[in-house]
């Protein structure tokens, strides 16, 4: 194999991985602050795809812009979902059992969203015909799909904005304080419940935007969530549950692994490479590649 062919697989993997990275940091943010593994994350991504589709079909909004426009409504939706459902099973119990309860609750939510969407919008796949989806930039011998390149750059920008929010603003500091030690944060006058809601809203908004970016080149259907939620889990565990930069790198790694698996295995087995990577990381480094604390002991 030529080096250029290998480079093509690497570049393709990284471009796809950028969008995985964005959706994964949403999941990591929710876990990092709330200690909630959100099974419904993939479903919010799917809803983000549909909203972007709706913007494109009804108002001729370019999906790249549409993806950004999913942020405000999904932030509010996240606040609402937290207030109505998650807040009820948080606080005051045995942390392990609480975690199980939240996990099951979001699993239920995921089932409801997927199936209700199927009922209302039909299982038929849809697509946005973005003009750049079938064009490519040529960089020397490498071809970069335009839709994926734009999506990658947008994902990078959004992830950077999120990182700046967390590290440079008072809200970010409050979020991190609530994540590190909810009790001490409470004593400092930080309303931990509000921080949980904010984190959930932000996490949902990010994954919806990632869905919007994905919609530029991926078919939109109610069942799309199942495949992506597992990829997100893998990325987040890879990065060390709850670490934002870790999840970002985890997402890129997943894209790479998917792409490079094609060199070794047939297309059908593409995700076997991902799952095997996932299991290997869990066995070898359950705290993740970048995890600070070994919570798995």
């Amino acid at each position: 194999m030529h080096a250029s062919e290998l480079a093509q697989y690497v570049v393709t993997g990284l471009l796809v991985g950028g969008v995985y990275a964005l959706m994964s940091i949403g999941l990591a943010l929710i876990f990092g602050v709330m200690r909630v593994v959100n099974f419904a994350q993939g479903d919010f991504m799917m809803l983000g795809m549909y909203l972007t589709y709706f913007y494109a079909m009804s108002f001729h909004v370019d999906p790249l812009l549409g993806a950004l426009l999913t942020l405000p409504p999904f932030f509010l939706l996240g606040l609402l979902v937290h207030r109505v459902f998650l807040a009820r099973v948080t606080g005051g119990g045995d942390p392990n059992r609480e975690m199980d309860a939240q996990l099951i609750l979001t699993l239920g939510l995921s089932l409801v969203i997927t199936n209700a969407t199927t009922m209302i919008l039909s299982p038929m796949p849809r697509g946005i015909n973005a003009p750049y989806a079938s064009r490519a930039f040529a960089a020397g011998p490498l071809l970069l799909n335009q839709a994926r390149s734009y999506a990658f750059l947008m994902a990078l920008a959004l992830a950077a904005a999120m990182y700046a929010l967390l590290t440079r603003t008072d809200l970010g500091r409050a979020l991190r304080a609530a994540a590190d030690d909810p009790e001490a944060a409470g004593y400092q006058g930080i309303d931990v419940r509000v921080m949980h809601g904010t984190a959930f809203g932000l996490g949902i908004a990010l994954v919806a935007a990632a869905g919007g970016l994905l919609a530029t080149y991926h078919p939109i259907e109610p069942n799309v969530a199942v495949n992506f939620i597992v990829l997100m889990f893998v990325a987040v565990v890879l990065g060390g549950l709850g670490s934002i930069p870790g999840a970002f790198v985890g997402g890129l790694v997943i894209g790479l692994v998917q792409s490079l698996t094609l060199l070794l295995l047939p297309l059908q087995l593409q995700n076997v490479g991902v799952f095997v990577t996932f299991l290997l990381v869990l066995y070898v480094r359950p705290q993740g590649l970048f995890g600070r604390r070994a919570r798995a002991v």
């Binding site: 996990l103 239920g108 109610p222 597992v230």
Partner: protein, 594 residues
């Protein structure tokens, strides 16, 4: 035994109701629902063994369901093997898979275990697709339909599924009453405490996982013949399989025989009827109902219907008066037995342990002699609890050696240390909150095996010995601090230790409580058990210890008779600082406190 008899009676009841329904229903469609109720109840019970009793939430249990279905059907299709044998082959393959999956995966705890289990059915699904088994039809065998599980009469499938349900109930009931069952529940409630009580957590989880894989595989095999006819990866490894399993268990209640049965009896007919009435127009209705059920149960009755209904029933509590009176009889035996200068039982040589650069223990050496009470004192952060964690195998020392009667026990896992005769208690009592006081102690009593009856008797004796004989049926959260500490001591004694490590047994006790506990410790020693106690208040310890070892900042500061040690200037300095020492240099410091 009352509870046990009720369990068997309940199983007989489920079987009877199942039989009545099998022969009372007439419509084919109703039989289909009945078969499904039995099958999902059995599948739920299978999941309940590992996730309910042992608390290891598995999101990948459909792996075994699918293995059962595929093995049975492929054996019939390719080798003409009758499914009556094929399904047991499937169960065998599933158990083997459980061992192969469990060996690496049980190294992970909590959420990590659950996430890892997600991956296995996904992998199986992709591989089955890849191998060309996207659709495997059950071969029609017209001349031997019964040999190939092809029944005209739908009641046959009802009976088959009911038989599996009954067998799974019996298996679960046997596990509940066995050493394994107590160990699993202890692991779920507090794994560290279980380990310290001699529970080999890894092996117990593996056993539970393999035992839960078998009925899941049988359920898959029967499901393939009764319902599917064509096995696809989606149908047997798909998300809906684990969702239905979770729904029946969580709605009904986990950790009990009856939860999955109740959950299946409610949820399966509801979803089937909805699916058949409006399913054509609303294709996702089943998923919505299951999802909504999961959400509702987590928000309003997270423990499940069975436990919720049971909690309503008034529970009789034994009178507290009996417990108040009980400790009095300790006084008679509280006279200290003469200290026999014994041989060295535990020999600690040069043990060191650091946490990320903080030297918690550095080159600690001392020995514990048969029959003595050795006190280990030191200010907060001196490394006392770390020392115990090294001694009982929770932590691995970087350097040094611990010998038990001449045998090196450094690096042995906690359960093995316990079984050699080293018991321990914890600074903050680690109890199993959902097990009664008696059951808490039974976990310890199983350390050396034996029958459940023998363990129950041993536990009763241990409780009586600490004066908690009347409190056996209470749940630990209903105990006072003193009673909790006594219960933990009883649990430790039930492991029949020759040495007990007591981590601050007097902490948080009233003056009377300290008296009672001290008397108890003397009594333990009088019964021939060697005692090592950690305390950071010296006053109480001086009265019960034969010798003291003083730790400070991970180093051994002093060792000797209590009177000498408490007059040692270095010890006084560690506790009260240099300035205090300068001012009160000559003062006797037997009553020094931190």
């Amino acid at each position: 035994m009352r509870e046990g008899a009720r369990g068997w009676l309940g199983i007989a009841g489920v079987l009877a109701i199942g039989l009545v329904l099998t022969f009372a229903l007439t419509e084919r469609y109703h039989h289909r629902i009945l078969t499904l109720v039995f099958l999902w109840a059995a599948m739920g019970l299978a999941w309940n063994i590992i996730s309910g009793y042992a608390g290891q939430i598995s999101f990948g249990h459909q792996a075994f369901f699918g293995i059962g279905a595929y093995t049975t059907v492929l054996l019939a299709a390719k080798l003409k093997l009758t499914p009556w044998l094929g399904m047991f082959a499937g169960a065998g393959v599933a158990m083997l898979a459980a061992v192969l999956i469990g060996t690496p995966t049980f190294r992970l705890a909590g959420i990590y275990f659950g996430l890892a289990t997600l991956a296995y059915p996904l992998i199986f699904r992709i591989v089955m697709d890849y191998l060309g088994f996207q659709e495997v039809a059950i071969p029609m065998v017209r001349d031997h339909p019964i040999l190939f599980m092809q029944f005209e009469d739908p009641r046959a499938f009802d009976l088959l599924a009911l038989a599996l349900l009954a067998a799974t109930l019996v298996l679960s009931r046997l596990i509940e009453g066995s050493r394994l069952g107590y160990s699993l529940r202890a692991i779920k409630e507090n794994e560290q405490a279980a380990l310290a009580m001699g529970v080999d957590a890894f092996r117990c989880k593996m056993a539970a996982y393999a035992l839960s894989a078998a009925p899941a595989a049988l359920a898959g095999a029967i499901y393939a013949h009764a319902i599917l006819f064509v096995v696809t990866p989606e149908a047997v490894f798909g998300v809906l399989v684990i969702v239905q399993t979770l729904v029946v268990c969580l709605v009904g209640g986990v950790g009990t025989l009856w939860g999955p049965v109740i959950g299946a009896a409610i949820m399966i007919p509801v979803s089937e009827i909805l699916d058949s009435t409006v399913g054509d127009r609303l294709p996702g209705i089943q998923g919505v109902v299951y999802g909504a059920a999961l959400m509702a149960i987590m928000m309003f009755a997270p423990e499940g219907l069975f436990w919720r209904l049971r909690r309503r029933r008034p529970v009789s509590t034994p009178s507290a008066a009996a417990a108040e009176a009980a400790p009095a009889d300790l006084e008679s035996t509280s006279a200290a037995a003469p200290a026999r200068p014994g041989s060295v039982l535990l020999d600690v040589r040069g043990v060191s342990k650091a946490f990320l650069g903080l030297q918690a223990l550095s080159e600690i050496s001392f020995d514990v002699r048969q029959g003595e009470v050795l006190g280990i004192i030191g200010p907060n952060g001196a490394g006392k609890t770390t020392l115990f964690n090294v001694l009982n195998g929770f932590l691995l020392a970087e350097d040094g050696e611990v010998r038990w009667e001449g045998e090196a026990i450094t690096g042995l896992p906690p359960h093995a240390v316990c079984r050699r005769g080293v018991g321990r208690t914890f600074q903050v009592v680690r109890f199993f909150p959902h097990l009664t006081v008696h059951e808490n102690v039974i976990v310890g009593a199983f350390a050396h095996g034996g029958t459940p009856a023998a363990a129950a008797a041993l536990a009763r004796a241990a409780l009586a010995r600490v004066g908690l004989g009347a409190r056996g049926d209470v749940l630990p959260p209903g105990l006072t601090t003193l009673e909790l500490r006594l219960m933990e001591l009883a649990r430790c004694l039930a492991t029949r230790p020759r040495l007990v490590l007591l981590d601050e047994p007097l902490a948080g006790l009233s003056k009377d409580g300290v008296e009672i506990m001290s008397a108890m410790i003397r009594r333990v020693r009088a019964d021939g058990v060697t005692v090592v106690i950690i305390e950071h208040t010296v006053q109480a310890l001086v009265k019960i210890a034969d010798r003291l070892v003083v730790l400070d900042h991970g180093r051994r500061l002093a060792e000797g008779a209590p009177g000498d040690v408490t007059r040692d200037p270095a010890v006084i300095e560690a506790y009260l600082g240099k300035r205090w020492l300068a001012r009160h240099a000559a003062t006797h410091a037997a009553d020094l406190r931190p």
